[in-house]
Symmetry: C2
Subunit: 371 residues, 2 copies
């Protein structure tokens, strides 16, 4: 198949409820208990609804295979192993990341309601999907929330070409009268998911995104994607790139902040040592600040709304593109796709059909279309 | 004076204690009470000691003039106006930013010791120097601390060319066995202070740092510096620059996070509306997480130290430059300059002499040298 064909690959529109039904059944069949399957499916489908396909059902296979092989423990129950007023630590016991982090978020919300602020760390966890889902859950409960995770080592800290850090998202959310304002983005300049997407679409890749195994900048997408997947010494660069002139030391420091929290402070592995000894060993964290502990909650909401309004009204650089705030695109896509269905690539649907056959459930029912 | 002359301008080595003595006396003479003068001087001299000259005594004039004219209230006493367990709000009553934020940090430390985490916001404040000084103060008390402030509007959010955000530092610190690990950097790609420094040294300026009043990228340093100072429609770009391909939307979202906290959440102005109606109206915030609330503090410290050690041992991109961690350079310079004296530019010393004559105190005693 040529790249041009690939770009126009057949897609299928799948109803969100149907995609959720399928994902829950697949996870159940692989051994996950009902609640864990439901939470994990919600997080995955939320990514597809919001246009973050790299973190959606395209990743279902690794969860199903992980549960099936025991690399992810289907019987794990997240356990609060340390509890000190506004600070708790949750041990995920090598279970699915989503239910463990969901437990942590709900605990963080409860503690922030009691004390005003809270921090809950998660250790011995696995991949947990999009951080934004969790931050938005806390925001709906009246919180300013900060959520992150470490990950497989792919990012070179400033000054070295060794991939040591994860893509460690910086993610926050808070409620506004116009809906939840939520930002969720990797602290590398681009994520591997974005490179994979560009690889499918035919590029281009820009200098300042990644280094080859020789430590030199590379712009070869297929090689970089494969080099990252197979850990052949390729490295993504932190936000700002590899030069301090463009602020690479700042992106690196931001990523380090998340490494410290999700690694040693959570009692988890830091990214460089994740996925060793047969388990992920990931760490996550949640910070919450209860907005009503700050004083007049209505005045705060009005102030946030005013700021958001003024930024959106800023003179656009490109008149065809009004200024957007974090989460605007995701909210718009979610509304559209909830109404019209979620576009799923031919290749992803084929993968889901494989999974259906593997675990013995009904395949996804969708409507074929060209988008 | 040519640029080459300027580059080799005479400098003076001034003992840190003498520079502190001078700064305290100047602030006292301008009306600040002893404690406020002492804290403000410590923060300013710490910047000069650590190599952040843009935030050191080169800024003393604006404090002295502000106190003298009443634009900064010398009689202000920071007041806790809201107190809800781990969350407090401090009104600086338009006094000096340093004593107000110092009050907030000490309160945040006390509350995090009681509850595990804390958040203290400051409203109606003024410029407070380097955020790192405050984060390090909390780190020495056993905290992971996050400190920031908003500022005069100079940064264009992603998608617009209007300067609306401050350079809003992202700043954190935590204790490690090898000393405090502290990062403190503007969330714009470069700060105006860095541009001013390059202007003195003769450039170069890189694309992706700033926009001219026409919304187009500019690399004219003198014009950009003057355009920013006199608010002629020039704007700095967020970390990642003006294009989402390089992650500019991420830097913009990071800056927005700080705007929200220091503006509406603190009950302060957001950057766009600071310095109106005769006062700064700035906001700051402090988050603290008491490390010993997480469990085994020794294990955490060892984990942090191990991570720092491994990153420093990473294969360097340039063999002449081993990998550094945030704060390494500042700590080294502080040790050197504490021992040998602080190099002060001829032009800055002339400014301090002017201040001495204006408020009627002894001038700075230094030793002239060529560096």
């Amino acid at each position: 198949m040529t790249r041009a064909d690939n770009h126009h690959a057949w897609r299928h529109l799948v109803d969100a409820a149907e995609l959720t039904r399928f994902t829950v059944e697949a996870l159940r069949a692989a051994g996950a208990p009902p609640h864990d399957a439901r939470v994990t499916a919600e997080v995955l489908v939320a990514a597809d609804l919001g246009g973050v396909e790299s973190h959606g059902v395209a990743r279902l296979r690794r969860y199903v295979e992980g549960l099936h092989s025991g690399a992810i423990n289907p019987h794990a129950v997240p356990e609060v192993v340390s509890d000190r007023d506004s600070v708790c630590v949750v041990d995920a016991h090598n279970g699915l990341g989503q239910p463990a982090l969901c437990t942590a978020v709900d605990l963080a919300v409860e503690r922030a309601r009691r004390f005003g602020t809270s921090a809950v760390m998660v250790r011995r966890s696995n991949h947990m999907g999009i951080a934004g889902w969790f931050a938005e859950r806390a925001a709906r409960a009246g919180m300013l929330a900060l959520v992150s995770t470490n990950a497989v080592p792919q990012v070179a800290p400033m000054g070295t070409n060794e991939p040591m850090f994860g893509t460690n998202p910086f993610c926050y959310a808070l409620p506004t009268p116009g809906g939840t304002l939520c930002f969720d983005g990797a602290t590398s300049t681009v994520s591997r998911g974005k490179l994979e997407q560009l690889d499918r679409l035919g590029g281009p890749m820009r200098p300042g995104w990644a280094l080859g195994p020789d430590g030199q900048p590379t712009t070869d997408i297929p090689e970089t994607v494969q080099g990252l997947i197979h850990r052949k010494g390729y490295a993504l660069l932190p936000l700002g790139g590899g030069e301090s002139d463009h602020g690479g030391h700042k992106g690196s420091a931001l990523s380090l902040f998340i490494e410290l929290l999700c690694g040693p402070l959570a009692g988890a592995q830091w990214s460089r040592h994740t996925y060793q000894d047969g388990e992920g060993g990931l760490g996550h964290f949640v910070f919450c600040l209860a907005l009503d502990a700050l004083g007049d909650a209505d005045a705060i909401r009005a102030g946030v709304d005013g700021l958001a309004h003024e930024v959106r009204e800023g003179a656009p650089v490109d008149p065809a593109h009004p200024v957007r705030l974090p989460g605007d695109r995701r909210r718009r896509l979610t509304a559209e796709r909830t109404a019209d269905g979620i576009p799923v690539l031919e290749s992803v649907l084929a993968d889901l059909d494989d999974i259906a056959a593997f675990v013995g459930i009904d395949p996804v029912r969708g409507q074929t279309c060209v988008l």
